[in-house]
Amino acid sequence: MTSSSRVSRFEHILDDETATPVDGWVGLDLSERLPDGEGYAYGQFAGRFSEGLYIPETDWQGMIEEREQKQSQLSDRIRHKQLAPLNQGNTNYCWSNAPVHCLELVRMKQNQPLVRLSPASVAAPIKRFANRGGWGRDAIRWLAERGAVPVGSWPANSRDQKYYNDSNRELAKNYMVRQWVECQPRNLSQMVSLLLRGFPLAAGYNWWGHEVTLTEAIWLDGEVAIRFRNSWGNWGDYGFGILRGSKMLADDLVGPYSGSMT
């Protein structure tokens, strides 16, 4: 068994020693997240994690080792296809960048043409073109019902209303995700099970006020950790960083089954 996954020296590791931002960050806003008795909050817009998706904790280390040996991790494919990280610039649209990147990744897995999509084409209309924080359900609802516009027709971070036109609304219908699966907040078993099945996940963290894309489970110093991709351009190593300890437990977590087949 491997003792530890390979971690690049450029990857930032965020763990229990990492300072929690005091204030100022307004990217993730879970104030509208109203969970039911089991912690789920996406309603009709995402299916709940089902028992058939569980992978026992006893299998995690072996599966991580196998996925790394066979280069089956999402980061392997991302580097192979040279899919650059998103960069949200000075927008507060992390909550849209993560689900949109999930859509790009699921399209990559389906071997559909690599089309870069505009997170602002999702977030800006939802927020009436204001630069405001939000949460994953708003974004995936939009992606399920309307889709995202390619950056060639709507720049990634533009809040200009001129892009919200009939042509782009029609174009966006080619880039939708209808089927998502939601995890309970701070449920490590559900999170790792989905990552070991190859799901990309959009994960919101209250401690960080931020939402990022989780790409895979790794094994670090005798325990599971998470590799994620930020939306801050070439932050870390090609956008990748590591979350571990209590910092990796997401307060809001959702992943796509598949993208629209176009």
């Binding site: 209808r178 598949s258 629209s260």
Partner: protein, 262 residues
């Protein structure tokens, strides 16, 4: 044959050859002078057939000169279906019993020496060598099958000419994790990129939802329309060659299956 392989594998720790062996012909009726070849390592490997070294212990397998064969390590035991070096040229299913399996794939014609060194070797005598003739040219057509007991290969599903070689991987994310890992691997992706005119991986339940394929390329819609009524349950591998779709179960041996079916 299987019995012989099993016996050989049980003895691997005692210095028995890991190379695939010829079988000893069984004498069914008494003969005046029965002739039985001693089993000896198989000395020829052709393109699109399995030449597998089986071992209970990890090995270092070196090919000299390099470039004539490609060596791939897999964890065993596993079931493999295809043509085997030393076999009769027909497709067959064999259980490969070693914990460590080394697939030797023909790349370029010539003679190669396989040098096998147990990872824990301390004595020069533990190193084994075998000259193998590599035949990487087109494979001769198989001999007509005169065995009426064998089940014929199922006919392919007819489809309007797709004009090329395509592959469709059809599975849900609830599939067996080993299959997901194999499908996600860069080896599979690179094989598909290098050897097909195009390929897709679809979430089966999404594809089976009415309207989800409306915007997919017409050729894929034609393939789906033709194949869907005949598809068995579970993950499936669809190999589309011109006017014919061949359907096989999608397993962790996806690349080997594709090599055989190409």
């Amino acid at each position: 044959m299987l019995t012989l392989l099993l016996a050989l594998n049980l003895l691997l720790d005692e210095g028995i050859s890991p190379f695939p062996m010829t079988a000893v012909p069984q004498v069914v009726t008494p003969q005046p002078t029965p002739v039985a070849d001693d089993p000896h390592p198989i000395g020829t490997v052709q393109r699109e057939e399995f030449y597998v070294l089986q071992s209970e212990a990890p090995l270092l397998v070196v090919a000299s000169p390099p470039g004539l064969v490609e060596i791939t390590h897999e964890q065993g035991p596993l079931m493999a279906r295809g043509r085997f070096a030393g076999g009769d040229g027909k497709t067959e299913t064999r259980m490969l019993l070693g914990d460590h399996l080394y697939f030797i794939d023909a790349v370029k014609s010539g003679t190669v020496e396989l040098i096998v060194i147990p990872v824990a070797a301390t004595e020069a005598e533990q190193i084994q060598r075998q000259l193998v003739e590599v035949q990487a040219g087109p494979r001769p057509p198989p001999q007509p099958d005169t065995d009426t007991d064998t089940e014929p290969e199922p006919d392919g599903i007819p489809v309007d000419d797709t004009g090329g070689f395509r592959v469709l991987l059809l599975l849900d994310e609830t599939a067996d994790p080993d299959t997901l890992t194999a499908v996600d691997s860069l080896r599979t992706v690179k094989w598909l990129d290098d050897n097909t005119d195009d390929w897709r991986r679809w979430d089966r339940s999404t594809a089976e939802t009415d309207g989800e394929l409306d915007k997919e390329e017409p050729v894929w819609r034609r393939i789906w329309q033709a194949a869907r009524p005949a598809l068995p349950e579970g993950p499936q591998l669809l190999i589309i060659q011109g006017k014919t779709i061949t359907v096989r179960p999608l397993t962790s041996q996806v690349v080997q299956e594709l090599e055989v079916s190409r």
